[in-house]
Each structure stands twice: as C-alpha cells, then as structure tokens.
C-alpha cells in the first residue's frame, strides 16, 4: 500500500474506533439509566469527572511529561544533528519547530507531546542520538513531528475522556447497586430487571473493552505517524532502519512509567516484536517487525 493510502486508511480506522467508542458510551448510559429508572445524571457525572481529570493532563501535557522524564533543553551547538534535523523536518511539514529536549539515557527512545503544533515539544534520548545516523534520525523526528501535526495528543486525550467516562460510569453504577439506591420515582417501576442484569455485566466488562478500544486506536495512530513521517521525509527506509536498531537495543529506559509509555516511539518496556494476536490487543504500540515491514512496502 502506498504512503497516502496508508495515511488515509489509518485515519479512517481511528475515527471508526472513536465512533464505536461513543456508541458504547451512549449504549452504556442507556442501560444504566433503565436499570435504575432515573435520568442521565449518571452519564453526566461520569463525563464531567473524566473531562476534568483529562483536561489538566492534556493542557499541561508537555511540562508534566518533561518534568517526569528528567529532560534538558537541546542546544544547537551541542546537539547540532538533532537541532538541524528538527528544523528541516518542521519546514517540510509546514509547522513551527517544536521545543526540543534531550534525555541523558543510553536507551534508545523518543516522544512528542503538546496540545497543538504551536505548543509542542519533542524529546529524544542521548542513546538514540549517538547510535542513529542522520537519515535514521530524520525518520524518527518525522514520526514524532507527525504525532504533533496530526494532533494525536489531542486525539488520544479525547479517547482518554471516553474511556474514563466508561470507567467512571461503571464504577458509579456498581456503587449505586452496593449502596442500594433503588427507584427514585414512584412512577418508574418495572424498569429494573433485565436492564439491571445487562447493566451489571456491562459494568464489569466495559472498562476492559474501553481499554482495548483505546489501545487499538493508539496503535492505529502509531501506524499513521509512521506513514505521515514517511511522507514528510520521502524516505521510509530511514525510519525502518532506525526501528531495527531500536528493536535490537537491549537497554531499558530509566525513567519511563506506565503513564508515559504510550507516548514513546517504541514501547519502553520492550513490547513484543511479532504479532501474537490476543496479547497484542494490550499493546500501546504495534509490533516493531510489522511496522518495519509496512514501511519497506511503501
């Protein structure tokens, strides 16, 4: 599949998953509401909590993540290759150059963060800068810049709100059951029963389903960043070689945590290389060998 078709397919699929997500949220709200027989205050509260908790992390995403990772600002004379590569790729992508940071760590990794191209940052480990040549570095920087350009951070924040809503709604539902809040209105009898049963099953299953959908979307956006980056550099082989080097590197990152793992170019906890279907559903990133294969077929 050529580059533009790849990009198109990944965008469509990620929006499709998003639509399924929204449908699940609405369906859940409907079931919970009918189980108890009152209005949508359930869903409203859940959405509110999810929005507030996501908003702060989204708006200040760059300072939060950079603070957690121990990064220093990049300097033109010290990190000439990184600096000039970022300038060049930003020019080709038509976005302003993001703020650049370096993490002093031998492990090979990179991430991008920031709510839109004007407030974005890209961070690279010193290990990556040492071991990649200029064309491979260009591939990595182009991938990260594509995350910024495609507003992936914003996209995943919305997805996180949806997943959070499902989790909170299920939680509130289960707690309401526990505390025995029955019918609020005298005229709404008989709405429990089957909806209650479905509601309980959904309340247990839906957080897991939400996580799976969230991870599926994350993987599609990773493929999209690969393809968009290749369109910027017109040289998918650069990123393919970089990914090969990254997959062979045995060092683990010192400062990655579960909260930030999904932002990195390769799973910092050394995810699997090939696609075993079931456990693959729980990966934030697609398998590296598959990414390399797709890049080389462009």
């Amino acid at each position: 599949m050529n580059i533009r078709k790849q990009i198109h397919s990944n965008i469509i699929r990620s929006y499709l998953f998003m639509a399924i997500f929204i449908a699940v949220v609405i369906g859940l709200g409907y079931v919970f509401e009918h189980a108890f027989g009152y209005d949508d205050s359930f869903l409203g509260i859940a959405v509110f909590i999810a929005l507030v908790s996501s908003f702060v992390s989204y708006y200040f995403s760059d300072s939060i993540v950079l603070g957690m990772s121990g990064a220093r600002p990049a300097l033109r004379n010290k990190d000439f290759n990184f600096f000039t590569t970022a300038e060049n790729v930003s020019m080709a992508a038509g976005i302003p150059v993001p703020k650049l940071y370096v993490i002093d760590d031998n492990a090979m990794n990179a991430f991008a963060t920031g709510r839109d191209p004007k407030h974005a940052s890209i961070c690279i480990t010193s290990g990556l800068l040492e071991q990649l040549d200029r064309r491979e570095l260009e591939g990595v920087v182009a991938h990260e810049l594509s995350h910024v350009k495609n507003y992936d951070i914003r996209f995943m924040a919305i997805v996180a709100v949806l997943a959070g809503t499902i989790a909170y709604a299920s939680d509130i539902f289960m707690r309401s059951l526990w505390w025995g809040r029955g019918r609020d209105r005298n005229d709404e009898r008989d709405t429990g029963g089957i909806f209650m049963i479905i509601g309980i099953i959904l309340a247990i299953l839906s957080p897991i389903i939400a996580t799976l959908i969230q991870l599926a979307i994350s993987r599609k956006r990773e493929y999209l960043a690969d393809a968009s980056g290749a369109l910027i550099t017109r040289y998918p082989e650069g990123l393919a070689r970089a990914l090969e080097k990254i997959s062979r590197d045995k060092t683990l990152m010192k400062n990655a945590s579960n909260a930030t793992a999904h932002l990195y170019i390769a799973n910092p906890f050394k995810g699997r290389k090939t696609g075993a279907w079931f456990s693959g559903l729980f990966d934030t990133h697609p398998p590296i060998l598959e990414r390399i294969r797709i890049l080389r077929s462009m």
Partner: protein, 183 residues
C-alpha cells in the same frame, strides 16, 4: 416545505460553497507565495556561509585556485538567479563545486581538524537539506492547490475568479545526471 423555501435553502448553500471555495483558494495561493519565499531564505543562508568557508580553506590551501574560483562563480550565479530553473541549476552547480572543494580539503589534515572548518562543512551540508525540504514543501503546497483548482465543480468557479494551476519546482533533464567531482 414550500418550493420557495427549498429554492432559498439551495441558493444559500451554493453561496456558502462559493464563499468558502474562494477563501480557500486565496489562502492556499498565499501559502504558496510564502513557501516560495522560504526557498529564497534557505538559498540566502547557503550563499552567506560561502565567504567564511573560502577564507578558512584559503588559510591552509592558498594555491588551489580552481576550486575557489568555481565556488565563487557558482555562488554569484546563485545569488543572481531569478527564475526557478536558474535557481535550481545554480544550486546544483554550487553543490558540485563544494564537493570538489571538500575533496581537495581532504589533502590538508590540519584543515580537516580545524573546528571552524568542520562546523562550516556541517552547516553547508545542512543548508543543502534545507533547500531541498523547502522545495519539497513548496511542491506539496502547489499540489494541494492544483488539485483544488482542477476538481469539479471547483474548476468552473476557479476559472471565473482567475485562479490558475501553478507550476512545480522541477529540475531540468540535464541536472538529473550525477554531479562530477573534480580534483
């Protein structure tokens, strides 16, 4: 819904479409002009670095007159280029002359170790990339604009407003041959 209402809605829709199409085309044409001036900025960056480079190499290799002449000549023609074709040709001529200059510099180990020279070499190589990327961005902006101008029904309206296809930044056949390095 009465027929008058339907017709009114259709007319409003058409007006909105024409309005957004016109604004879209104006925006893209302006973006193309900006992308074009970007190429100029990068070319200027390139020509600005040359005098420093020539001075630092002359410090070690005064008698290598031909390479200096070639580089200076190429630089002058690049600064004078006023059409895309001339610019492209001059840029490639400069790259060729620089390659020869750097090849000559290989014979002077003291020059090769000079920090200033190394920095200039890196910067010049970077400006080549920058010019290439600026041209690529210009071309991709032109492509989006040309598509918008040519598809149906935009093509009818674009013609009325005076928006025409714009040319890509292309290299001539002759330039596609590999650059020769001369010692």
């Amino acid at each position: 819904m009465s027929p008058t209402l339907i017709v009114t809605i259709v007319i409003i829709f058409i007006i909105l479409f024409i309005w957004s199409l016109y604004n879209g085309l104006v925006t893209m044409a302006t973006q193309i002009a900006e992308a074009w001036s970007q190429i100029d900025v990068q070319i200027k960056r390139r020509t600005d670095l040359i005098p420093n480079l020539v001075t630092s190499v002359k410090g070690y290799a005064k008698h290598e007159k031909t390479v200096f002449e070639d580089v200076t000549k190429a630089r002058t023609s690049l600064m004078k280029a006023d059409t895309p074709e001339k610019m492209s040709k001059a840029n490639d001529a400069l790259s060729g002359a620089l390659k020869s200059l750097f090849a000559v510099a290989e014979n002077y180990p003291q020059l090769k170790a000079n920090e200033n020279f190394l920095q200039l070499q890196n910067e010049l190589s970077d400006t080549e990339d920058k010019v290439a990327y600026a041209r690529q961005f210009y071309n991709s902006t032109v492509m989006d604009y040309n598509v918008k101008v040519k598809v149906f029904p935009n093509s009818i309206l674009a013609g009325l407003f005076g928006f025409q296809e714009k040319p890509f930044f292309q290299t001539e056949e002759a330039e596609r041959k590999p650059v020769k390095v001369q010692f």
